[in-house]
Homo-oligomer: 363 residues x 2
């Protein structure tokens, strides 16, 4: 019999229990679905998790009976006919324990009121960002999953490039990319694929529309796949026909900025340092004020996770954090360039997961 | 000069102001994004709306400067460098008015705390479901938009059917459907397209996987498109090769149940009546206990809106509500059938938006 892989869920629950004890609580109620997934392995669309120092109960509904029992080992599954949160609260009400931490950013004012009514004698203690902070540092299994999600997006991107010809519309390019990601196993795009042509590339969040591509224009594509619960995120900017000198210079600047920023990435470095490296290059080129967003963000179960790679972010990158590095320059009325990879923070530097070439590509 | 279409946003704000006055508030803060979209016409991914009896202010960030000014007429646009909600709160703090209603289901406990700190001398009054209730009754412009979203899904479905041949995988069918919806203008699917073959159709929320299709199996497809901010939702179950007698009988039962339920739909009828009509047919066939979900739900800006078409829902259907009618039967280990249309509630009956045929289809 082959050796069993150790499950990460036991370790994650243990870490959460340490925190529960440190903060002098007696239990923790996870209502943020990505956090419930992270702590249990369950991937359904509804469920809450009640963790005490000695037990862990996942409440979900009959739709997920089979799935939850298959996926979840380190927590006990409780199937409830009604609302999972109400069931969890009622169970907690029968306990002799008192101090329950809840996720104050993932419980609405209205839900909190409902909990108060269900638990008149208990103490509900707001917490913020506990599991989100645990999630910054990935384990190698998660990194593998992100690597696969990155590969699916890269493959879809490379296979779509030959279709980017004069006359194709932004929305058609987006459809071709998303179609391939889906066929290669993605449940969905990790966000609405951004495809912009020509002067529309100056809008960092352009929505793909009916605009046809003309020779001499640049093409910005920002895409990602959700594969088995983990996401990817990449951007490339290419040119249909030789770019102007101005456009080439912009490309060169962003490419250098992206490279410099990636070169600063390693465990122990402040997030702001990575951001500053990109900004310094763009400042040198005179594009500083056209770099209107931050340099990156964590990715994992969600497309925007901690940490933020931005100005004033003094948090230190831990080993195995997974982040994007994505500087961009946007000249209103002219166009924009953005280049984005997903990278893993390692002791000695960045491991770049995105394998798609970054040198100036002329179609 | 052609006459200008009257904008619906003024009327929606007027209705909200009536409610503000009735409830003796002085302003309303909309933080639910679909509600902000509904009240203003703005379609960006971040923004909050502060409505007083005499004014209406949409707060959003610089990314949406151009777009918000283009889309929004009946509210004033305020572009804020920082967080839009904080900016709205600070503006409210400078007002001499006191009583501000907020959406208690769309404000987290944590955010509410933040607002309390920003507004120490103001009264924050929880409200629930105000705008969601307004949204039940659509105007004809919204119905047109839903009709178009329905047409995009129906077209993608019909064009994909010829590809449903032996050996194709669930995920490939989903990719083909989503690809076509995207090309026909959808921003994204309104949910992860469900495609299930054979015994997997017995799972109402099956996730499309790598399973290849074999002759003699049934194929359940549940799909929808988001088009210009409005969604569609449809399900068809078809057969590759002649179905067994048992499967044909199931199909017949669900088809009849769906038809009977649609026939009860008209303005003034209780939601529970529509649900009961479907259940009665399935009971008669002996399938009652295998119909494990409710008969339908409202659709509009979101895939699940009010009203709920279910047991004990005594709310009355108003004219121009738009709902799904989707009974299903799921026999564990054997398979399932679901048939779903989107229909408009009219004075005299249901206007069925989904034009795709429902008679038993053998591929």
């Amino acid at each position: 019999m082959p050796p069993q892989e150790p499950s990460p869920y036991g370790a994650r629950l243990a870490k959460l229990r340490e925190r529960i004890a440190e903060e002098r609580l007696e239990a923790f109620l996870a209502t943020s679905l990505p956090n419930v997934h992270y702590l249990t392995g369950f991937s359904g669309s509804a469920g809450v998790l009640l963790v005490t120092l000695g037990d862990s109960l996942l409440f979900t509904d009959p739709r997920y009976d089979l799935q939850a029992h298959e996926q979840v080992r380190e927590s006990r599954v409780v199937i409830t006919a009604g609302d999972a949160l109400t069931a969890a609260a009622k169970r907690w009400n029968r306990s002799r324990l008192l101090r329950l931490g809840f996720e104050s950013g993932a419980v609405s004012f209205q839900t909190h009121r409902g909990l108060r009514k269900l638990l008149p004698k208990k103490r509900l203690i707001p917490t913020a960002g506990w599991v989100e902070t645990f999630r910054i540092e990935k384990d190698e299994g998660e990194i593998e999953q992100i690597r696969r999600a990155v590969a699916v997006a890269s493959r879809a991107f490379s296979e779509t490039l030959p279709l980017v010809r004069p006359g194709i519309r932004e929305i058609e390019v987006a459809a071709e990319i998303e179609y391939r990601m889906r066929r290669y196993g993605a449940a969905q795009p990790s966000f609405e694929t951004i495809v912009a042509f020509g002067e529309r590339t100056a809008l960092p969040h352009a929505r793909a529309g009916a605009r046809p591509l003309r020779t001499g224009e640049c093409v910005l594509m920002d895409l990602g796949a959700i594969l088995d619960g983990y996401v990817s995120d990449m951007t490339r900017t290419v040119f249909l026909g030789r770019p102007s000198r101005k456009a080439s210079r912009m490309y060169q600047a962003v490419w250098e900025a992206q490279k410099e920023a990636e070169e600063t990435v390693r465990a122990g470095v402040e997030c702001a340092t990575v951001d500053r490296a990109a900004r310094r290059v763009l400042d040198r080129y005179g594009y500083g004020r056209y770099f209107t967003h931050s340099t990156g963000h964590g990715v994992g179960r969600e497309i925007h996770e901690l940490p933020r790679i931005a100005k004033k972010q003094h948090a230190v990158l831990p080993e195995r954090a997974v982040i994007t590095v994505e500087p961009g320059v946007y000249l209103p009325g002219f166009g924009g360039v953005r280049i984005e990879d997903v990278v893993v923070v390692r002791k000695t530097g960045a491991e770049i997961l995105t394998q798609t070439p970054k040198d100036l590509t002329v179609l």
